[in-house]
Symmetry: D3
Subunit: 333 residues, 6 copies
């Protein structure tokens, strides 16, 4: 049924799906009953584990996790899991082999995404290089990692690669920022023939006004876009600036398959906003921040990993077809 | 006994009063045991229900509620209840009939108050008109609602009508603001012979200093003033600017019956500050914000509805006479 | 010729007009050759004399002047002149007789406008009352001055009365502000039957964007609107926020005669911006700020008094008809 | 064993120690199972009790507590306890006898420390005198309190006296501040021969960068330094500026015994950060702020009192020797 | 003599050089005696002409000029001159032919540079595209202009192309910015094989501290780098943030010929700071901002065009060899 | 006559006095006709020379001058003059011999004052030590200079020593600051028996409000106080925060001879505000900042050296007796 809109989606093994809760309000996405599924203190030195990237890998799961340690140093760590919920995360951060000796060192790394394109897994993260920049690298096996040039100039965050080329070029979403906490932010699109040189930058989406306040201060791409017959399904976060700070919610939009900087539809309501205690209380209160979305090609089910209060990692379930319908039915364009 | 100070107060039917909890510290106001009595998700599309106005109506209760939806659009909705606790709130916002075609449209509505004056129920709210302004309207039956001119210029919030004329004029409290989160705010008083033209603006109260820090950043009127032989009893909120944002508490003052811009007494301590989890955790942490106060003319008991963390609605009980004594005994003037 | 568009304009005696300079660029307005015509130190204690209001009076000229003294106290002073250029300004500020004993005292007064309506000269100024507010008063003879209620709530500046009633009501332009230097500002319109109670507030104009940057931060009414067959001619200032502070230029718009909150046309370019040394250097660099415009009913000539660098007062000449044409030809609506 | 590094430490009577919890991650410090051991409402008028100072006194415990009352007035109160956990705190604030009639009155007092030096107990607090300043006084018996001159100029906070003279002078740590919430802050050292005149100011430590973000915005001394053979053990708090406000964690450093402005070692990770609900939720979310540390000379055990969310007081246990090792093993210098 | 360090420099015809003034302090650069050589009102609608780019062209001079009009719209205009001082600037802005239909429109254009590379003249400017971005185009004849893709993401300013490829790639300097007046700013280097796709971003220089305050807030490249045997000579501006706003001065650095992100030497003192009235007074006080530098291959003389107070254009003379010596002798690295 | 109020004033040799200009407004202080008497480029590398300290010395004049060089490094330089107007200023900064090896190095020095006390000349300046601090030293001969401990904690500026002990202690005025441009500032008084240890800090004066706006943001002591029979005559600067930055004016107050933190009288008007081009235009526009005042004991005449626009040094003349009368006649207390 609704899986029919999926393009090139593979079966997803072993994920311990939960059904939508009976009773209460109908929810397009519902949280895992054991949330946060990845606790803050899973490794010996972690202060927090959140905003992390998971992919199916060889019949099980691999991931790259943002682990701040108890010095509050920000870095990304590799992890493995059989079921996507119980994880072995390495205590040492990912160590990248530079593909060119001129590639600068990173001051810090955070908020990774992982995307399989063609023959390998690309990691994109926020890379400290004279301020927040986009970092990029790849792995074939989650053992050896290779670092590429930063695709874009500082200051930029929330870089996300598309899972296939658009035309003959690689394609990337990002959000230009400033050197601080950044009270603004639009999503842009860029292309590259070779992952080193980037151009053809196109504006995609801006924050909205009083008709959709949860996304009124800034927005940023979440997981890699999901290809459907209806367009690229993009989960993205939005920020509301309350008198007591930023509130991070997330929802979805549909982008044109061939010209992804053109928005087909965009949901006015959020899908998830910080409402559970583990989303409202933590190192940064009131944050739900998705970085990975896994789709089961057999059923159209989707599992979304999202950071909770910048402290732990939650999991939410849904159906791709229902999310697409939600975007169309609540389109604010 | 203490009801004897009430002027023109009617019996209040069916309110499920709770007694002051035994043991612990003596509290002038005590919270309902089932707080928050109105949850955030009472309607199918509500993100939050708070800062709302309730009045006795035809032997039961009617109300106008601030309901932000899951797009975080702010609007006000009508509701009905037999006991003041279990509510049917309409999914559609209140639709106003303009009393004059020139009255501008509202960009948004929030933080309503409802006051019965002479022959009808007036609704006053924060009205989006080139920024935060005071909106005003009325209803006879909570079915048809009529909108009047904005009484005052932007930027203004927390408008509250007195329940009877002062001399021959209607009287209004308000708080001039700025176009943002407003780091200042005094209460002013204005008069009008006809609800359209307003003047004779008088300063009422300013924030205080280190002797009453909970009200040191800004203050604003809460429910409509309650007439007593001792003066108008005004419940009002105050804001403290901590390093982690605004904290909203509330307390009370007594205003002169004939010249209400003259403050007779003003409590230095708060009556309620955010201390319960549902007041400290939510869309805006650390907010208790009263918008309605119902008095039982037979007993002097009072039921105060207040917004909790900009998320849900709480209820607190007390006695008018005790609050008046509290203001006098803790007078900071 | 172009005077034919004037409505109810009287001859203007004795003004020492100067012709448009020959050569150079064609200017719609040209500066007086002896600018600044009113120097900063004309009275024994004045630090600066600027942003001032002049009217024809009994065959000569009267005026109300902003004179900051050498304590930098801001007040308004009465002055008389035969030719509009050589002035006797009183050393003592204007002393107002309160028309009602309840009218609050002023903390300070600045930026006056003077408008003749029906039978008297109204003075409107920025009045210190718990922050910047609009003050209002009148005189018949520039000897005795009477103070009215503040028409509007704080925080507000740049109040300007229309020279006749609109319908049966007095009409006022103003600009709601905040408690500081105010980085925003729209022009609003309000009405009153009696000058005490005000309402029917209407939004008139907002700042513009990159197509007219000189008016991109805030705008405010200048002199009283001038009635023409083409609409009310409103001279107004606009502010650009450069990296080194605010720049105040001015230009003009046409408002509907019967519904003056409706803008018929609005010039994209400025008429005058700070370019002369006495406009660029002074207590506040880069300010040209018009507060009075005198029209000669015989010829359509106009004399505009404007504050220069918040220090002295300049004079510029032009033709009403040419300004109206300029607004229409450069209309940005 | 590890007590052997202690210098001049006395036995600590009656403290109800708890052992390190079995299982889970190895913690250098562990929280008391009944935290927060001192609740916010222990006195009849307290809004909150936190950031407080405790010392062993005559076989039991005495303390000076920050109690904000329900007017949110900030003051310090004396208390007594047999076991260090159950406290009788006086309802009235400490009343100081001025040692010189010229000593200015305090506008408010908060964040006390208590240190025994030579023959008496010194109290050092944040003293309101034209802004936040350091206040200082002493007591012999916790009945009579005497106030000294402010040792330093405003604006300053977090003053902490050393428990003995350095050379022939008294020695003080402090943190120069501004008049607001202060987005910066280094620890400095000063000396005095007589507690009235201070000088020889020396810089001790600055905030760190991305390698220790929890202490990247400002730092301040906590309890009085503890003398060990390895140096002065200084517990201190650090602040991270998140997009939703300040986060207060704490850790430790070692200072040179003879020249305490020289840092021997400084831990990169925090020891405690706000992770428990009572540390994350309260009047100021996400604060753990130590003001007192009691050491048992017989065993080297340490009991640390720390403010929780600016609301209540928590207790944590550890061993001095382990903390010293932790500082050395995680030295970031 | 000093011309011997020039690489590939051509003779510069017809420039009316002036000698260094005799007497007074020895100046490395000296201003033209008729400064500002290009006045603000050279075209019929210009408010200001500054920050402009000039090149030798067919035995005379061509240029692209920033002309703000009297609406303060920012655009770039083509101009021609025989002697480099007397200019005919077109009243209409440059109209670009898009090289690809997908290239977005510009909201505004300002601060152009012009650089000859291989076979054509490239224009690089600040291009309004969802905020300040780098725009790029080219012309062969200063009649037809062609627009390329924006090379980099917003927010960025001060893009300058190198006059030849570095290795096989084009090379660009730029300064990432924020969406406002940007209180920070480093110079970065990027490369491209095809002018469409850009990468290999490298950090070049940051602002300095108290040893060179004129460049302590932000820095940005000025004219295109000049190739010498000693390295690329880069003229660049620096900004000091005084209590009364930004002050723009300029000086020079030497970059490695093959790896231009490596700085060989950098002058601590400025070469020119705003000291003349036409540099201190204008639309933005205290700005000297170079955008073009023309070198005479026969003599090593250099003519630098620089914006004055964001209002008019000045000209300064010097010798390349002396500037190189100045950088080396005053090297702050 | 008016010299009779002077205490301990010596004759002042060789000063080329100018009489008060005839005509115009009566001025208490009048500017030297050749102002600015010390130009910005007097030394080979000076960018500016201002905010400088001059004293009579051995029948001629000596001084310590703030010279920013063309790297905008801030330092203080010694100078000599026969007539107080024509100066030989040393190209090298003053080099201090530390009186104790532990005295920290200075990051920078600026805004010196020089005061003769007992047997030597003390220099007090703004000393870079982890932010703006007060530096102190002395000389006997303006050849050898000795540096003392910093008397006070950072952040502080505008330290000025009294010319004799108050009681048995040295006495100092200063202005606590923050780490930036400091939008606040009161004058405080401190004492020391030995110039090393300081205490007895007393608040002297705060900025004023709308009755004296020129001193409404912050104030700071100027030259050393002048002893008169009427009290200490203190010249001090005040700052007004306009929408285009800070404006520095100066005036005078009288302090109690024995308890100088008690203000006897304080002038509401300024004596000098920035009105001349050389005061309004320069590196920081609109600054007049006095650092030295020389009194002729024979006549009571006074010569005040003041910084002009943070660029050059001006000189103004007056009579001490007239200034004292001005303070009393315009007393705002």
């Amino acid at each position: 049924m609704d899986k029919s809109i999926l393009v090139n989606a593979s079966p997803l093994p072993g994920m311990p799906w939960e059904d939508r809760p009976a009773g209460g309000r109908h929810e397009v996405l519902w949280r895992h009953s054991a949330n946060p599924v990845i606790p803050r203190d899973l490794t010996p030195t972690s202060n927090s584990i959140f905003n992390s990237a998971v992919v199916p890998f060889k019949g099980a799961y691999a991931g790259v996790f943002r682990c701040d340690d108890t010095s509050r140093r920000m870095n990304i760590h590799c992890g493995r899991s059989v079921d996507g919920i119980n994880w072995q995360i390495e205590e040492k951060p990912v160590s990248f082999i530079k593909t060119d000796s001129g590639i600068p060192d990173s001051e810090y790394k955070y908020d990774p995404r992982v995307v399989f394109v063609e023959d390998r897994y690309y990691i994109i993260w926020c890379n400290g290089y004279h301020g927040a920049s986009i970092g990029m690298g790849y792995t074939f096996d989650f053992k050896e990692f290779f670092q590429l040039e930063n695709p874009l100039m500082p200051y930029n965050r929330n870089g996300v690669l598309f899972p296939r080329r658009i035309g003959t070029n690689f394609a990337l979403l990002s959000r230009p920022s400033d050197s601080g906490h950044t009270p603004f932010g639009d999503i842009f699109y860029s292309e590259s023939p070779d992952l080193t040189y980037w151009g053809k930058h196109r504006h995609v989406m801006s924050p909205l006004g009083s008709q959709s306040l949860w996304q009124s201060t800034k927005i940023g791409a979440g997981p890699a876009p999901i290809e459907t017959t209806e367009g690229w399904l993009l989960l993205y976060h939005g920020v509301l600036n309350s008198c007591n700070g930023f509130v991070y919610s997330f929802s979805a939009a549909l982008l044109d398959l061939d010209e992804p900087w053109k928005v087909i539809a965009r949901a006015r309501p959020y899908l998830i906003s910080p409402q559970k205690t583990y989303e409202c209380v933590g190192d940064v209160p009131n944050v739900t921040f998705p970085c990975a979305a896994l789709v089961d090609g057999d059923t159209g089910r989707i599992a979304i990993y999202y950071g909770c209060a910048d402290t732990a990692t939650g999991l939410a379930f849904g159906h791709v077809g229902e999310i697409v319908s939600f975007v169309k039915d609540n389109n604010c364009l």
